[in-house]
């Protein structure tokens, strides 16, 4: 069991070392993809063992419960897509001379490292280690975002690193304060462990904890793309290579949010539900508003997708604010479905960008007619993101809505849906102008590289598999919600 617990972290590390030693090769890339699948596999296996009871590893280093398993599933699923897409992406870049072998090697190393840090974050025993993992993702992804070394990429990277580091540093301060609120001066090696904090949460000093809660909210919110530290997101997501954007949008945000959920479950025990709820509602609504409004005036499709991620994080934050069992389960489903759909959309947007050499919405026309596969994948992804049935995000958004109504948050639901509708408008308008229409002179058909095509087909399959029903996943989501102490 212990081995299984370490697998999600170790497998990508192995892949990273191989890539570091041998440089970028198709086989190292495949190993990376296999390590992503290992994460997925570990998630699936752990899901069977984590119905309510958490599995704890020795050394008090990593642990897994239903929530961690769910997050591993999300990471694994999206990472598999992203790693497969990376093969086609980097190969194409190398073939076109857009990237050097050194840069490719760096990419090959950092991509699995990125996966490892995320796996570490969701499996960390201690919220301190969890923080380390999340801060490490910033460091690791910095050069992934800046992979293309253009001025814009550099600018995005700088903003990304500075803003995220600033934010995440606040989370560290918050973590320290939580530690301080629990211990009265005596150091203890395990006092930041999740289970220890949960059992001792009632003894935390409320005033210190409330300061800590605010800082944690801001800090992890920065990484999750919540206002006011959201400003890095669109730049970084639009400048990163498509597979990396997919990972960042699809999972990194969720992993950061996972951290927020973890600390929320502790703080709620100390301060009651109200404190974090207010914060999450304010930040969630602001995020939603900013994202929705920027979506309708958007002219760049990769930024549009980034803002769509923000929009969804806003919804997730509001769901977390409600915090009932239904809300949390719906939130997790939302995260999963959003991850897969975003991967699909970002990977296909990469293919579109490759074919046009531009990310301006106005320059893209008639993709469905010119490249049915890419067009279908992008369209399907957008449809999923719009929350239309039979796809999973309908169920998750509907679950959130029900949870909100059940807690008498009618006004919140209404406000949220207004912004969702505004975002809907933006997405539909941009999506239809890109996908539909008849090709005009100069609009040549294009075919994505085989690996990317395969990824798209796989992504379409995953999205379709998530419609209508989740099968056993439903129980897992329920158990995950229970581990967060969401009783109702």
């Amino acid at each position: 069991m212990a081995g299984l617990l370490f697998l999600p972290i170790a497998a990508p590390l192995v892949a990273a070392s191989l890539a570091a030693i041998f440089g970028w090769h198709r086989w190292t890339a495949i190993v990376t993809a296999l390590s992503a699948m290992a994460i997925l596999g570990a998630g699936v296996t752990l899901a069977f063992f984590t119905d309510g009871e958490s599995v704890v590893d020795s050394h008090h280093l990593v642990r897994a419960d239903a929530l961690s398993s769910t997050m591993l599933l999300v990471i694994g699923a999206v990472a598999t897509l992203a790693c497969l897409a990376s093969i086609g992406y980097i190969d194409a870049e190398l073939a076109d001379g857009h990237t050097s072998p050194q840069a490719a090697r760096l990419y090959g190393v950092l991509l699995p490292l990125f996966l490892a840090t995320m796996a570490l974050s969701v499996m960390a025993m201690s919220i301190g280690v969890m923080w380390v993992g999340i801060e490490a993702t910033t460091v690791v992804t910095a050069f992934l975002v800046g992979h293309r070394r253009t001025r814009a990429a550099l600018e995005a990277t700088w903003k990304y690193v500075i803003i995220c580091s600033f934010g995440i540093a606040l989370a560290f301060l918050g973590t320290v304060l939580v530690y301080f609120a629990g211990t009265t001066g005596e150091p203890g090696n395990h006092s930041l462990d999740i289970d220890v904090l949960l059992s001792g949460a009632a003894r935390l000093d409320p005033r210190v904890t409330s300061l800590a809660a605010g800082l944690l909210l801001l800090g992890y919110g920065a990484k999750a793309g919540l206002v006011p530290f959201h400003t890095w997101l669109a730049d970084a997501h639009s400048q990163a290579p498509a597979p990396v954007s997919a990972l960042m949008s699809g999972v990194l945000l969720s992993v950061a949010f996972y951290a927020l959920l973890r600390v929320k479950s502790i703080i709620d025990l100390t301060l009651g539900e109200g404190f974090m709820r207010v914060g999450l509602i304010v930040m969630g609504l602001l995020t939603l508003a900013v994202a929705a409004l920027l979506l309708v005036v958007q002219t760049d499709f990769k930024r549009m997708l980034a803002y769509s991620s923000m929009e969804n994080m806003g919804i997730v934050a509001i769901a977390a604010a409600v915090g009932t069992r239904l809300a949390i389960a719906a939130l997790l489903l939302h995260v999963l479905a959003h991850g897969v759909a975003k991967a699909l959309v970002f990977v296909s947007s990469g293919a579109i960008q490759g074919a046009h050499g531009s990310t301006a919405i106005a320059n893209v026309r008639a993709v469905l007619a010119r490249s049915p596969l890419v067009g279908s994948a992008f369209t399907l992804g957008i449809v999923v993101l719009l929350g239309l049935p039979p796809f999973a995000m309908f169920a998750s958004e509907w679950g959130v809505a029900r949870a909100l109504a059940a807690q008498h948050f009618g006004w919140l639901l209404g406000t949220m849906l207004v912004f969702v509708a505004i975002a809907f408008t933006g997405l539909v308008r941009a999506g239809s102008s890109m996908m539909l229409g008849a090709p005009q002179a100069g609009d040549t058909p294009f075919v994505p590289p085989r690996a990317i095509g395969g990824t798209l087909i796989l992504g379409i399959g995953l999205s379709v598999a998530l419609c209508f029903s989740l099968g056993p996943l439903t129980n897992l989501l329920d158990a995950a919600a229970t581990t967060l102490g969401a009783g109702r």
């Binding site: 300061l211 719906a330 049915p372 049935p389 309908f394 539909v428 239809s432 102008s433």
Partner: protein
């Protein structure tokens, strides 16, 4: 509106080689689903309710099917439309070379249409509702290579989503307040809900369902999307999908909430009346055949909403038997509208397929090249006029009767609302006649105004069969509405406030309960036949002294032979009316005079163009859109790209947290 054959060919056939049998399969499956819907729906109406619950579908909620007479009736109606459309689609899809995607989506769309009325829980309902929106959107976008289609699709998507938001908030509040996600449970608990919630739910449902039914003010998608969709889809949307908007209002406001205070009914009547008048006005000045039909849908849905509103108002005033008349009027007109609008759009589709045109100004003379289609469209148009012997007559008659039978001397609200409603209804029927005479007379009679119309092809046999099925529906509603009597009675019995045995008797003669007032379309039709034969007899007078009949060229006022260009067009036909309603319609006219090169005093040609903007759109939508865009620009201005500003945002957040958090 002329289609570019090259563009259409490439986009429609792109990437898919559709087997020649595929349209038959798609249309056949659609028709079979429709037939199944009719059977299941009718069984439910007549006492075999269907219950099913599937917990594992749709996470966290599960699906639940509860088919009662109300749902059954709508399902049967939808199914009937789908059956006709399905048969039609076989020929249409073949002729228009549909790609695989719309062929697949057509039966799926019908399936979602059937699911909505069968839904027993809020989740199932919303699931079906959104699935319906999605599939119909996909179908609307079938010919997405045309710009108008994409614009229509965007309008459709956004307005539908706004409507959906309203419905979702209403239903979720209702179900959480009543503690049940099932309609049955909501119904049981509805009595205990607070007035604020009930009022809120009512307003939201009127907005949300009204948007689907094409009622003002969220109607603007309808006259765009319905014309731009492929005609079988237009037919399904206009004859089946919009009905579900009405269904929602009946299901939630009439059945579950059991009606409300008087202002509910009044509101619905005002909305309905405004929609009816606005819709018919737009229809009567519209020069696009399908757009005209689409606006006519807004008109008829407005009338139905008016009838339901009247029923609610009367029910709230304690006049159950009159309320029952109004409700029957609504349901009957719903059926009638489904029949004639399906037929209308299918016939318009045949015209489009046969000529490539839907611009009335370029059509004409189809009666000779497409005789069957012409006759069938004539039946539809007669139905839409609301004149006797047409399908729309009985419904409008009942509505008028319900208004007449409202005692009102002692009730100021009724005394105000009822006469104004009559005025609106009257104006609507009057203008409706103009619109339909224009559509039929300009489009199908006279002489072809363009090459496309001249070379029209008659619809294929399956298309004709599909249309004939719809026409059969029209004839049944027009002549023997009694056939619908039992079903309508069953439906009405499930609705509080009009329940019981109070509804009008739909026998061979329609009689109103406890009131003088009756009409019999069947006897009228028979008597009319007698009258016509009498006239035939009269026409024999002097036949012996008469020279043999001849065919002569048209009398051209002495001038050289008339050319088709000299005919009145749809635009000129509507011009006097447009003048009358100038202030309401505010047309955009533009006269361009081209002089001959040699002299300013000689005119080579004069172009007169008149465009009809939608006043509601102009004064409601765009201001909202502009406001949102202005706010969005403000937000965008706050994202200048300056990292210092971004860090400042974070710092402000930090300071707020420090101040609040301690």
């Amino acid at each position: 509106m002329k289609r570019d054959p090259v563009a259409s060919g490439t986009a429609v056939r792109s990437g898919t080689g559709v087997a020649s049998g595929a349209p038959a399969v798609s249309g056949g499956v659609t028709a079979a689903l429709g037939a199944l819907g009719v059977v299941v729906g009718l069984r439910a109406v007549f006492g075999a309710p269907l219950h099913a619950s599937i917990g594992w579908l749709v996470p966290f909620a599960g699906l639940r099917i509860d088919l009662d007479p109300l749902g059954g009736a709508f399902m049967a109606l939808t199914g009937a439309v789908a059956a006709a459309v399905g048969v039609y689609a076989i020929g249409y899809a073949r002729r228009e070379h549909w790609a695989r995607f719309p062929l697949v989506m057509l039966p799926v769309f019908v399936l979602t249409l059937l699911v909505v009325p069968a839904a027993g829980s809020v989740t199932t309902f919303l699931f079906g509702w959104e699935a319906m929106a999605l599939t119909s959107l996909a179908l609307v976008l079938t010919e997405h290579h045309r710009d108008e289609v994409r614009s229509a699709g965007l309008f459709y998507a956004v307005l539908t989503q706004i409507g959906f938001v309203a419905i979702l908030v209403a239903l979720v509040s209702l179900s959480s307040a009543s503690g049940s996600g099932d309609f049955a449970g909501i119904r049981a608990a509805a009595g205990d809900l607070g007035p604020a919630l009930r009022n809120g739910v009512f307003l939201l449902t009127v907005v949300g369902f009204g948007s689907k039914a094409g009622l003002l003010p969220l109607h603007a998608w309808l006259p765009r999307a319905h014309p731009e969709a492929p005609s079988p889809v237009s037919a399904l949307m206009s004859a089946a999908m919009v009905n579900l908007g009405i269904y929602g209002i009946v299901r939630i406001d009439v059945q579950a909430l059991g009606g409300g205070p008087r202002w509910w009914g009044t509101t619905l009547m005002v909305v309905g009346a405004a929609s009816a008048v606005f819709g018919v006005l737009q229809a009567s000045v519209s020069a696009d055949l399908k757009r005209l039909l689409a606006y006519s849908t807004t008109e008829n849905m407005g009338l139905i909403a008016m009838a339901i509103g009247a029923s609610m108002l009367l029910g709230a005033s304690g006049l159950a038997s009159v309320a029952a008349i109004a409700l029957t009027a609504a349901l009957l007109h719903l059926v009638a509208h489904a029949a004639f609008k399906a037929l209308g759009f299918l016939a318009a589709g045949s015209v489009l397929a046969g000529t490539g045109l839907r611009d009335l100004d370029r059509l004409g003379g189809l009666a000779r090249r497409m005789p069957y289609t012409t006759v069938l469209f004539g039946i539809a148009a007669l139905g839409a006029t609301g004149l006797p012997l047409g399908a729309g007559f009985v419904g409008e008659w009942l509505l008028l009767q319900s208004l007449i039978h409202t005692p009102q001397g002692d009730n100021t609200l009724l005394s105000l609302v009822i006469p104004l409603s009559i005025g609106a209804l009257a104006l609507t029927t009057g203008l409706g006649i103009v619109a339909m005479v224009k559509a039929f007379g300009i489009g199908f009679l006279a002489r072809p105004r363009s090459e496309g119309a001249e070379k029209a092809r008659e619809a294929s046999p399956t298309m004709l069969v599909g249309m004939a099925l719809a026409a059969l529906g029209c004839v049944v509603v027009a002549v023997a509405p009694a056939a619908l009597g039992p079903a309508l009675t069953r439906v009405a019995s499930t609705l509080p406030s009009v329940g019981g045995d109070q509804g009008p008797k739909l026998g061979a003669i329609l009689r109103l309960p406890g009131a003088a007032g009756s009409v019999s379309p069947a006897i009228l039709a028979a008597a009319f036949a007698v009258a016509i034969s009498l006239v035939l007899l009269l026409a024999r007078w002097g036949v012996g002294a008469r020279p043999a009949a001849v065919v002569r060229p048209l009398w051209a006022g002495g001038g050289p032979a008339l050319t088709p260009r000299m005919q009145y067009t749809a635009t000129s036909f509507a011009e006097p009316l447009q003048r009358v309603f100038d202030d309401v319609l505010r047309p955009d006219t533009d006269v361009a005079v081209t002089h001959v090169a040699e002299s300013r005093y000689l005119i080579e040609k004069i172009t007169f163009r008149t465009a009809q903007a939608d006043a509601v759109e102009e004064h409601l939508y765009w201001p909202v859109v502009r406001a949102v865009a202005a706010v969005a620009r403000g937000v965008r201005k706050a994202h200048t790209g300056s990292i210092h500003l971004y860090l400042l945002f974070g710092t402000i957040g930090l300071l707020v947290v420090i101040v609040v958090g301690r």
